[in-house]
């Protein structure tokens, strides 16, 4: 009989009125656990699972104009349309990759270099750290508008400065060919400090003995960095890389603030995010937009999995 189960023998018995079967303390505890978890689960379901399922459902329909107006199920047609769109989707995917890889690689190299410089205590370190934080504190839209004014080809101060040192004037964000590069540099300007702070935190936890041993063995500064510091820092480095890469993939506000809807006149900064926004708010093609967003989500998950796998291999 089940009455000989370990639960019963180890748990306290409680008697319910009406002669119902008594429950052990663990059974009650298990039920109470779900009750306590309920609100949190409901919140996650409502705020995360429901929107994801709704988007997935929408991506299978021809929703246009208004989300709920007589939509028909199309199966995977929207996905096929998106993946077959060489005019907008694939170039947007390419720009997303160029922007993310370019910006994150630069931010990582610069962030690591600055973190190494700031590793040892020096006079004015606090001031430098405070200054480093400034770009992080401003909102991307405000930064976009600020740089738009600075880089204005006709009236902006950047061209006056370039002329002042004998360099030719540039169109910057007014140019079809320069815009993506300029926006990557703005991203680097804003987010390198975050990489610096994360890597500085990682560096501060490293033991000093291995480096001291390397010094005794005659290793120069580069060898100490390459073969001692970098391997020890790899966990922090990959964590920072994943965080920044996912964030860079999702970049939208600064692109929208500087180049408007549609990613510029020749779609020059139209990333997948900007494309999906345009499909939703300018074209009202909710079904196709949802399909692009599902593909985009899968891309982000893929990037995280690849980075995590590489991170694990490197560590091992």
């Amino acid at each position: 009989m089940s009455t000989t189960s370990p639960h019963l023998t180890s748990g306290r018995l409680t008697v319910t009125p009406g002669g119902k079967r008594p429950r052990t303390f663990e059974q009650q505890n298990r039920r109470l656990k779900w009750l306590m978890l309920g609100p949190a689960l409901a919140f996650v379901g409502l705020m995360i699972v429901f929107p994801l399922l709704f988007t997935l459902n929408l991506s299978l329909t021809d929703a246009f104009g208004a989300v709920n107006s007589g939509r028909r199920y199309l199966g995977l047609q929207n996905f096929a349309d998106a993946l077959g769109d060489g005019r907008r989707f694939w170039p947007a995917l390419g720009r997303t990759a160029v922007f993310t890889v370019g910006a994150v690689v630069l931010e990582t190299i610069l962030g690591l270099a600055i973190a190494m410089l700031m590793r040892k205590a020096f006079t004015g370190a606090r001031v430098v750290r405070t200054i480093l934080m400034v770009p992080l504190l401003a909102t991307p839209v405000a930064i976009g508008i600020l740089w738009l004014l600075i880089l204005d080809p006709t009236n902006g101060i950047a061209n006056h400065l370039l002329e002042g040192v004998g360099l030719p004037r540039q169109e910057f964000l007014g140019s079809v060919s320069q815009s993506l590069g300029v926006l990557m540099l703005l991203d680097v300007w804003q987010w390198t400090p975050m990489m610096t702070i994360l890597l500085l935190a990682g560096l501060s936890t490293l033991p000093e003995e291995p480096e001291e041993a390397a010094v005794v063995d005659g290793a120069n500064a580069w060898q100490r960095f390459r073969f001692v510091v970098l391997p020890m820092l790899s966990t922090t480095l990959f964590t920072a890389l994943i965080l920044r890469a996912v964030d860079a993939l999702k970049t939208f506000d600064i692109l929208y603030a500087t180049k408007g809807a549609g990613g510029g006149s020749d779609f020059e900064v139209e990333t997948l995010n900007v494309y999906a926004y345009g499909l939703t708010f300018d074209y009202q093609e909710y079904g196709l937009a949802a399909a692009v967003l599902v593909l985009f989500t899968l891309l982000i998950i893929g990037v995280v999995l690849v980075l995590r796998a590489r991170s694990g291999r490197t560590r091992s």
Partner: protein, 433 residues
């Protein structure tokens, strides 16, 4: 007694939680943004525009007349569009009066069922619907029903620098020639400035297109942007900005182009006449003493500018204050208010008001004349008349950008023409509502 049955407690707790949740959910669904009562405000969503600012100053007058409090929110055009998109998709009742662009939004919004039908209401004799310009009335009507009432009309004006130009150009050829002559890139001065953004430039380019004898679509509803006339208009506008325009023209919409003219860096500028106050404002403009106003110059097909209702008012189809919203529309777009606001320099759409010299006295005389001429010659649209206006503008604008960048316009026009033809087939299907 200490043996309170735990199962009963949990059940009671679950019941209470579920009950409270259900009650809260029902309360939230039922009340929306609060029950409608005498204290419920009439909510107006508006674009940040000189008209909205003028009407906001007069709201206490409406509140006194109607006995209802008014809450007005002003946003940029993009923000307003996104706000409608999000809220009306959720059947929101917290907007009663909607300021919208009839040519951009109305067809889609009417299709979505987001606008209240005003056909019966506009027949109120006191509103004098027939007094609204016929072409503008047509833009307020979709599938035979009136969904909006116009409050601001626009035509293009040719803004020019009197200190640089002896007389404004009468033809587009003349404009190009003078603009090229007045361009001095080394000195940072340009013959012409105008909108160059792919979609943003389309509405201003439309006057060039019409004056070259083209249109966005043909009479039988096919793509018109591959025609010889359209190609000539693309090439002309592209050359004007490529050779006589400032750097970065492809990133320019109103917000970027207007300050360049206001700061005295361009000789000519074509944009909406409703923005003229920017050039007479000493805090913005360095050309307030030298700015001139002229009608749109003639192209091979004559001078054919657009003359459109740029902004109108509509009633949210989900509003629970539709009668009060209509009362506001009657007040804000009625003959008296239009006369009063036009007298303050904001162009309306009523024939009687335009016929009254007192209402045009606020405009600089040259501008008033330009408006009159452009109204006479004007065409009632400035963008493709389709449901998906945003996508259409993106397609139509691509050859423009190619021209501004100095690329092959014909090649771009071929490509855009083919894409626009496909687009129109799909858009026509969506129009079956």
């Amino acid at each position: 007694m200490t043996s309170t049955p735990p199962a009963l407690t949990r059940r009671a707790l679950l019941t209470a939680t579920a009950g409270a949740g259900t009650t809260a959910a029902l309360a939230a669904c039922g009340s929306g943004s609060g029950a409608v009562g005498p204290d419920t405000p009439l909510r107006i969503a508006a674009v940040n525009h000189v008209w909205s600012q003028a009407i906001a100053e007069r709201l206490p007058e409406f509140e006194a007349l109607s006995g209802r409090r008014v809450s007005m929110q002003m946003l940029t055009a993009d923000q307003l569009g996104s706000s409608y998109n999000v809220k009306l998709n959720a059947s929101a009742t917290d907007i009663d009066v909607m300021m919208l662009r009839p040519l951009q939004d109305q067809l889609l919004f009417a299709r979505n069922g987001w606008l209240a039908d005003l056909s019966d209401r506009v027949t109120d004799p006191a509103f004098a619907w027939d007094d609204v310009q016929a072409a503008v009335r047509e833009r307020s009507t979709t599938r035979g029903s009136v969904y909006s009432v116009p409050v601001v009309t626009e035509r293009p004006a040719l803004y020019y620098r009197k200190d640089l130009v002896a007389a404004p150009p009468q033809t587009l050829d003349d404009l190009l020639e003078q603009a090229l002559t007045l361009t001095d890139r080394d000195a940072g001065t340009f013959g012409y400035v105008g909108r160059g953004q792919r979609a943003g430039a389309v509405s201003q380019w439309s006057s060039f297109l019409f004056s070259f004898g083209g249109d966005f679509t043909t009479d039988d509803g096919r793509s018109g942007i591959g025609s010889e006339q359209a190609r000539a208009a693309y090439a002309y506008y592209g050359r004007l900005l490529h050779e006589a325009g400032p750097p970065g023209a492809t990133n320019m919409s109103l917000e970027q182009a207007m300050p360049i003219f206001a700061q005295g860096k361009a000789a000519f500028y074509v944009d909406a006449d409703a923005i003229y106050t920017n050039f007479l404002d000493p805090t913005i403009s360095t050309v307030m003493d030298t700015v001139g106003f002229a009608p749109f110059p003639a192209g091979p097909a004559g001078a054919v500018p657009y003359n459109v209702p740029s902004w109108a008012l509509a009633v949210n189809g989900f509003s629970r204050l539709q009668d009060e919203a209509w009362t506001f529309l009657q007040w804000a777009a009625g003959p008296e208010r239009v006369s009063e606001i036009q007298s303050a320099g904001i162009p309306g759409a009523r024939t009687s008001v335009w016929a009254d010299p007192a209402t045009t006295a606020a405009f600089p005389p040259e501008l008033a004349e330009a408006m009159r001429v452009n109204t006479e010659n004007g065409t009632g649209h400035d963008r493709p008349e389709v449901i998906q206006v945003g996508r259409a503008r993106d397609i139509v604008g691509r050859p423009l950008v190619a021209g501004i960048l100095g690329e092959d316009v014909d090649l771009a026009a071929d490509d855009a023409d083919a894409e626009f033809a496909d687009f129109l087939v799909r858009d026509n299907r969506q129009q079956e509502f």
